[in-house]
Amino acid sequence: MTVDVDDEEKTWWRSPLLRTSLAGLTLQNPVLAASGTFGYGIEYGGLVDVTKLGGICTKGVSIDPWPGNRPPRLAETPAGMLNAIGLQNPGAAAFAEDYLSWLAEQTPAVVVNIVGRTIEEYSAVAAFLDRKAGIDALEINISCPNIKKGGLSFGTDPQAAAAVVKAVRRVTSLPLIAKLTPNVTDITQIACAVEAAGADAVSLINTITGMIIDVNRRRPLLANVFGGLSGPAIMPVALRMVWQVYEAVKIPIIGMGGITSAHDALQFIMAGARAVAVGSATFRRPDTMVEVVRGLYDYCREQRTSIAALVGVAHGGAH
């Protein structure tokens, strides 16, 4: 491929070296905003140039508005944080009305994360969004508690996970990404189940369940007692799971969990991720995602390689 170097240098974030494809989408680069850490994008207006990202995975959207959990919802932990937000969101209609047009205009790729408490709720939100313009893919958050199964997460049971994906698959032709929870004994079982059910890609990992106790009050600090751990503290766990899932499924992987640098992102790509998402690091440094894109570009230039050529290389041999 011949590329005018000076021109490429001016538009490094969409260099062919960074291009990646997954679930039928071509992304200008492999760096996405992780769901729940970037709102609906506009919140970071003025702080992040979203045109330089691969895309945005939105905060989870449900068919009806969800109020979210009671506070306290947040705690800082060693090299990370716990959150128990409870998927507060304004509902699909308000999302489409208030946020979607901005996202579609500004963002190279719009991945809408969807949530539900029953399979019917997942189907309803997917069917609603299927009719809206400007959405490139749906990411199904299967970590939500299943209220018909006593609040047990859909994502911890291969059959329940597959049932959600199948139901959503029936109501939309949009590319489907299943977001996997790490809170399972064997994540490859869930990955294989959603692949068989028609998912076009998987993203992993969601947060790891944890807790923190307020020693002064002698009580759990979070009102929800448990929360999801994110940040650099979880990166080795996330990386191990991406590695395992890469060896278990054929569909593309979006890797995430504690990425703060291009060096971290490269590890996920080498473990088998075709794209990566940056989450909690954005809270600390909003420009982290753009820095990661730049770092990946510099690496590819220096090493005379491309993102596509790096996916899974750490496994050695053929996939």
């Binding site: 905060k59 506070p71 990370g80 650099p232 600390r284």
Partner: protein
């Protein structure tokens, strides 16, 4: 959606850093030219460590602005108590050091007003600093506010020198009577409140609730500044949610949250305090 896009990330330089009391410090930094819109009640998120530990920024309200000693531009101050790892790291920074900040953030106090109500500022402890900035603006617009300030003890008092520079004479209360009157600052408020006041308050939650109730008896407008743990400061993480006041008639399922970082930190008292009792 309407968003305040004045917020930016800046690298600024510390101009002074001094200890005000045993555990309270005042940090001054160059005010970036992109932050000239910063108004009373707004805050900044400061990165307290260049390493990944502590991981998150810390929110601090702007205590005041003033001309820079160099004569070029302005500086802004934050006043903070050393309470944990983050503020311990912050304390270790020296004049000349660079610091990464995001600001100005949030919705501040309503000033100037469209009516000619007489402003009363009521601060408790580290709730006094954000009101200094507000007093500064009021004095600059030719209005000298009444100021009530409460502290636990004389050696915890902050901001009195700044008020005196402004020509504002505060009514002070301390828990132990070591400065000003003994007792709670809210016990010094005139009862019933004169009807032509407008109130701005920041401090511990019980004090804010008492102030809000007092204002309600006189049907006078009251703005309160709240604080909470937050990760992003821009309305994305939803971590700093605060229960919105809902009328008694509503059932439990109507619960709704406001975000301290984006909807606040300054709220009309009736937005965040229910007056069911």
């Amino acid at each position: 959606m309407c968003q305040d896009d004045n917020k930016r990330q800046f690298i600024t330089r510390i101009t002074s850093h001094r200890q005000l009391t045993r555990d309270i410090w005042e940090l001054r930094c160059d005010l970036p030219s992109g932050m000239l819109s910063a108004s009373p009640g707004q805050f900044v998120m400061i990165e307290v460590s260049p390493s990944l530990q502590p991981f998150l920024r810390r929110p601090f309200s702007i205590a005041y602005r003033q001309p820079a000693p160099s004569g070029k531009g302005e500086e802004f101050a934050v006043i903070y108590r050393v309470v944990g790892e983050g503020t311990r790291r912050l304390k270790s920074l020296s004049p000349g050091d660079e610091v990464n900040i995001i600001g100005p953030l949030g919705r501040g106090f309503t000033w100037p007003r469209r009516d000619d109500r007489r402003p009363v500022l009521i601060g408790g402890g580290l709730g006094v600093p954000p009101l200094l900035f507000l007093a500064q603006r009021m004095v600059a617009s030719g209005v000298v506010p009444q100021f009530f300030a409460g502290f636990t003890r004389a050696d915890q008092a902050v901001g009195l020198d700044m008020l005196s520079e402004l020509g504002v004479v505060p009514v002070v209360a301390t828990d132990d009577g070591s400065l000003g009157r003994r007792g709670l600052v809210t016990e010094l408020l005139p009862d019933p409140p004169p009807g032509d006041l407008c109130v701005y308050s920041c401090g511990p939650l019980p004090m804010l609730q008492a102030v809000a109730s007092w204002c309600r008896t006189g049907r006078i407008p009251c703005e309160v500044s709240l604080e909470n743990r937050m990760a992003c400061g821009v309305g994305a993480c939803l971590g700093c949610a605060w229960p919105a006041a809902v009328p008694e008639s509503h059932d439990r399922d109507s619960r709704r949250y406001v975000l301290i970082c984006k909807d606040g930190p300054v709220f009309a008292a009736e937005e965040v305090f229910a007056f069911d009792r």
